[in-house]
């Protein structure tokens, strides 16, 4: 079992979230293309087992902000659903704030919240403030507490002008801010964020990350954030858990992860044609039709970029983060050593 780089804190006395050998197995129906297969499937359906989550374990201390990183389909959302009580695990044990999530006890549900990117719980046709009333009724919030929290959230998220507009008239980013506010009205102790910045523009992404950092500082909530964007995790979390194909690959300091596995950046340069020689700029990954891909140590990025622009007839140039998949691969490769 690959357990390299796993963070082993001194035994946590009262973890907010405790997960042990968590496993989730799905049955998926198999179907091939074509008419014959379609008719056959009328009578007989083939199923196969998919291990969406495969024996992961970790603990979160109260007030920690932890990032759950992994490519699409890695098992992040499934884990989050199990932690919020939406899904029963196939095996393993987990507890959140001392509760078994799957039992969905009222006291448990009152203290958690789940925010899912690009999914709305706000009622479409009415101003967000009216949907907040719903939260207030459902979570039985006393008027004073409700007003106080609403005021703070309005301030932190800059909601002032947005609250009275019908939700369908808001932009995607504005809607997301209102969704987040709705999710936090009851001051949950544990916040589960599932790809909260997906589909948002860069400015809005940054603002929402900043908000959660503030929120954590002010209210001390434990935050578990899943994403396949490195930036989300980089901005918010000190600790990161990497998931791949249902298995836990890395659990530890984000800085350490970045240093070990994401120490490079990719520079893509467009020239007229591939030059005969291209040395001294960094590792040349490929060159095709004048499109050169270079791998450059992070520290060297700006210097190399400046030199490239100065020395060569550059048509276009971009600097990219290595995709999360590449980081994962390197973690994998590291474990194999």
């Amino acid at each position: 079992m690959r357990t390299g780089g796993v963070y082993n804190p001194p035994a946590m006395t009262n973890p907010a979230v405790h997960v042990h050998e968590l496993t989730k197995v799905y049955k998926v129906t198999e179907r091939e293309a074509g008419m014959a297969a379609a008719l056959r499937s009328l009578v007989h359906r083939k199923t196969e087992d998919v291990r969406a989550v495969d024996g992961i374990s970790f603990d979160l201390a109260p007030g920690e902000v932890v990032g759950f990183l992994g490519p699409n389909g890695a098992g992040k959302t499934t884990t989050l659903k199990m932690l919020s009580g939406l899904l029963h695990p196939t095996a393993g044990s987990l507890s959140v704030l001392g509760f078994t999530p799957a039992r969905r006890e009222r006291d448990f549900l009152r203290q958690i919240t789940l925010v899912m990117g690009q999914r709305n719980q706000l009622v479409w046709d009415i101003p967000a403030i009216d949907t907040f009333e719903l939260s207030r009724a459902v979570y039985r919030l006393p008027a004073a507490d409700y007003q106080h929290t609403l005021h703070e959230l309005t301030e932190l998220l800059d909601l002032g002008p947005l609250l009275k507009k019908p939700v369908r008239n808001l932009s995607l980013g504005e809607r997301m801010k209102c969704e987040i506010a709705a999710a936090l009205l009851h001051r949950p102790k544990v916040v589960f964020l599932d790809e909260p910045t997906i589909g948002l523009d860069v400015t809005m992404q940054r603002r929402i990350r900043a908000f959660f950092a503030d929120y954590n500082k002010r209210f001390g909530a434990t935050i578990l954030l899943t994403s396949h964007y490195m930036n989300d995790v980089e901005a918010l979390c000190r600790r990161v858990i990497v998931i791949h194909e249902g298995k836990l690959l890395f659990d530890g300091d984000l800085a350490a992860l970045l240093q070990r596995f994401s120490s490079h950046k990719t520079i893509v340069v467009q020239l007229e044609t591939c030059p005969d020689r291209l040395e001294g700029y960094g590792e040349v990954v490929s060159c095709e039709d004048g499109l050169i891909t270079l791998r450059v140590p992070k520290a060297e990025t700006s210097r190399t970029t400046a030199r490239l622009l100065a020395d060569l007839p550059v048509i276009d140039l971009t600097v990219e983060d290595p995709p999360i998949e590449e980081v994962i691969e390197r973690v994998f490769a590291q474990e194999a050593e």
Binding site: K24, Y26, K81, S84, G85, L86, L87, H88, T90, A102, R104, R106, D107, F108, L109, R110, I112, T113, L114, M116, R119, N120, Q121, V123, W124, D125, I126, D130, T131, E133, L134, A137, V138, Y139, R140, P166
Partner: protein, 261 residues
């Protein structure tokens, strides 16, 4: 009781949401009148050739139509929209939001959507009913009205349980929205007294798709046809179905969250 307060909150939100679309009022009015026209048109053709239909006089059948429209409105106000929203919620995952709320999930999904304009049907139904009863020259005393109310409640509960069971099926089957079409079309049969239909169909309309209990039975209460056996049966069936549907709902929820059987 806080459940009532919750219902009231959802109702207010539903009204607010719909009131944003005032044109829907006109649309609903148009549809309701069209529906009435269809029903009365059919009656007109039929009663051009006979004086009674299975023992029911023309105005008694009009009263039945009134109940039909009234109950249709009751179903359409909250039962149908909420169950439709439930099915959608299962598909697009928005049910997850409801499930993370610290309230009884069945209550939340059952009141989550309100189509306020259906109240027009309730009013229209009462109107038609009133006209028919006055033409019959029948006085409705307090006892009859109370029994009528009870039968409407029992019928409503039976229809609710039926819809909940159908909606719960969406946990297992994908294209369940079409099931709603089933109810709409089968409900059409309620425009006529269920006693007309051959035995097997009557059975289906009583126990498979509960149209008889929703429409004919309350109408019987107002036209002096209700036997105490039927009345008692309606209440008993309502209670039983509410229990069954709740159990089935819980089973469906367990399946949705992947609990081992």
């Amino acid at each position: 009781m806080s459940a009532l307060r919750l219902v009231w909150t959802f109702f207010r939100i539903g009204v607010m949401g719909e009131a944003a679309y005032r044109v829907n009022f006109v649309i609903q009015l148009f549809q309701s009148l069209l529906g009435l026209l269809t029903a009365l048109g059919g009656l007109a053709v039929v009663f051009a050739y006979t004086d009674t239909l299975g023992g029911w006089r023309p105005d008694e059948v009009v009263a039945l139509v009134g109940v039909y429209i009234l109950v249709g409105g009751v179903i359409g106000v909250v039962i149908q929209p909420s169950m439709e929203a439930l099915i959608e919620g299962v598909h697009d995952g928005s049910l997850d939001f409801t499930l993370t709320m610290p309230e009884e999930a069945q209550l939340l999904v059952s009141i989550q959507d309100v189509d306020i304009w259906q109240v027009l049907n309730i009013l229209l139904g009462f109107g038609v009913l009133g006209v028919a009863l006055s033409r019959l020259g029948e006085q409705v005393d307090v006892l009859q009205a109370a029994v009528f109310g009870l039968m409407i409640l029992a019928g409503g509960a039976i229809v609710y349980a039926f819809w909940l069971i159908l909606a719960t099926l969406s946990f297992w089957f994908v294209r369940v929205e079409n099931i709603l079409v089933i109810f709409q079309s089968v409900y059409e049969a309620g425009r006529w007294p269920v006693s007309l239909y051959p035995g097997w169909l009557r059975f289906g309309l009583t126990f498979l798709v509960p149209v008889a209990f929703a429409v004919t039975v309350p109408a019987e209460a107002l036209t002096g046809r209700l036997t105490w056996q039927t009345g008692l049966g309606a209440v008993a069936l309502a209670t039983a179905l509410l229990v069954v549907s709740r159990v089935f709902w819980k089973v469906g929820l367990r399946n949705y969250s992947g609990a081992s059987a």
